[in-house]
Amino acid sequence: MVAVGDAATGGTPPVAARPSVKRDPLLQRIRTGVRANEHHLWGWGGRISAAAPFVALVLTVLVLAFKAWPAVKVNGAHFLVGTDWKPGSTYGAVAYTNGVPHPVGVSYGAWPVIAGTLESSGIALLIALPISVGAAFALTERLPRWIAEILRYAIEILAGVPSVLIGLWGALTLGPLLANDVYPFIASHVPDVPGFSYLKGPVGHGEGLLTSGMVLALMIIPIIASTTRTLFAQVPPLPKEGGEALGMTDWEVGRRITIPWVRSGIIGATVLGLGRAIGETIAVAMVSGSLLATISPNVYGTMGTIAATLVTQLDSAFVDGTGFEVRTLAELAVVLVLVLLIVNILARLIIRRTGNLSAPLGVGL
């Protein structure tokens, strides 16, 4: 970029003017976009900075896995399917399983928080995806420009609000409001159809699964909406006009042309948001009830997630003189990474299946 600008204005003497370069130096620099002697540096600098996050991630996971390995040997498969969370007797005798020391009576089953993680982020996604795509559509296609501009800033600001503030607001304001005025209404108006029992029953006091899902939705809407807005803005006008000229309504043009045109991008943005929801810690810890061994029987009940558990249990884990509880938390962290990995792989499979029909890159029209 810089080199192109230089070349265009003739700012610096052309480096390529050396006799060894045969082609027109100006053209050469425009073609490659960098000066000949910058090429080398750029290549290595680029490679290192591109690899850095990946290396950091691998190192982190390796350290965690190393730390967690003894816990894996003791907890076994029970860790993934069990529904209890017993740190054992911290001041009692030390027992050994497979050569690993741990307090007597430990039994760690993380299924409730794994399920809680999937449920709360699933609910967040169900709420956030339609709202985000709808908002992005309104911003690019429907609203007058000045209103759209204001809303765009509002969304960006929302994306930057620290999650502890959203969590606090969720715990103090949103939760009680929902529990008093909204949840009872939903619970009493849901039809008596088998699949809907999930929405019935006691509505609690505002801490729990649905409140967590809503708070998470609030946090990921800006992520999905702003990315999707950028994608929509890039959809060329010609296919959209084609739809209008066929007599499609704006709604049909959006649903059948604009959204599918950028489908794989929207899936990517969704995964980004979902990853944030799965990994979100403090806000969920504040509004979920932060339970360890409880799967909520309905959508209103208190529960916990992997990430919230990690932050709420770390303090007490250090009390365990054998270090076993800390190792168990490390194992939980590895599970979190695996969940994120699986979500990403699933998204990739979806993109591969549907991407087939979306517009190829570079179809500008």
Binding site: P239, E241, G242, A245, L246, G247, M248, E252, L357, S358
Partner: protein
Amino acid sequence: MSEGDQRRAGEQVRTSPAENHGEREIDHVLEALDPDRERPHDVVLSKDLSLSFGDNRILSGVNIEFRRGTITALIGPTGCGKSTFLRTLNRMNDKVSGFRYEGDVTLEGASIWGPDQNLLHLRRRVGMVFQRPNPFPMSIGDNVVAGVKAHQIAKGKQLDVVAEERLRQVGLWDHVKDRLNDSPFRLSGGQQQLLCLARALAVGPEVLLLDEPTSALDPISTELVETLLRKLTPALTLIIVTHNLGQARRTSDNTMFLYGGKLVEHGPTEELFERPRDPSTEHYVTGRMG
């Protein structure tokens, strides 16, 4: 009578535009059989139409009628307002900011801007094909029936029938019958344009507007499209914008020449090209302008 019959009748009547002058017995017979004979001959009528964007007047006082079942070529130098005029006819300009019109356009006697006119229905009756192919991001088969679905003309199995019929009509069926579920973006540019034509035809329009439909195509695809267009009359009324004067001569019955913000001249194609009345028309069609 199905459209297919009309098309065949059309081929008998119109071997080539040049032979249209001869009066033949069969013409009278066919005319008597024509289901459209009770309807007005002029499908689309532009009355004193003036178009502007903001303060920029693009065209003024355009008076012209488009006869049922004919092909009209719309020619003129670049920027003279051909696309603007064409896009006005199915109200694609209405949402363009600053667009204003004076005068009126009627479709079968009713103003296209009239209070009883349903915009979506109008666009079903007046279809459009664009300068560059614009397939939708859905399978080839779904592309053909996208409009059919939107207007709920057919559903279920019928959709497959419509898709096949229209793809056959544009001569694409044999190429794509084994990959109806594939992406349209892997078709060649010419095939994509034929697909868009099939899509426009699928909703059964009365009038088809084509804005330089072959300008992105190679000569062979262009010939394919031109042949197809001739087969579409007299069931349809076509208005085609083109920079290719040869194409205008080959395909159209009538030609209109826009220049300097006005409809300078219009008439039977042969006459306009051979004996232009206006000097600027003569300049343009003899290649000394534009």
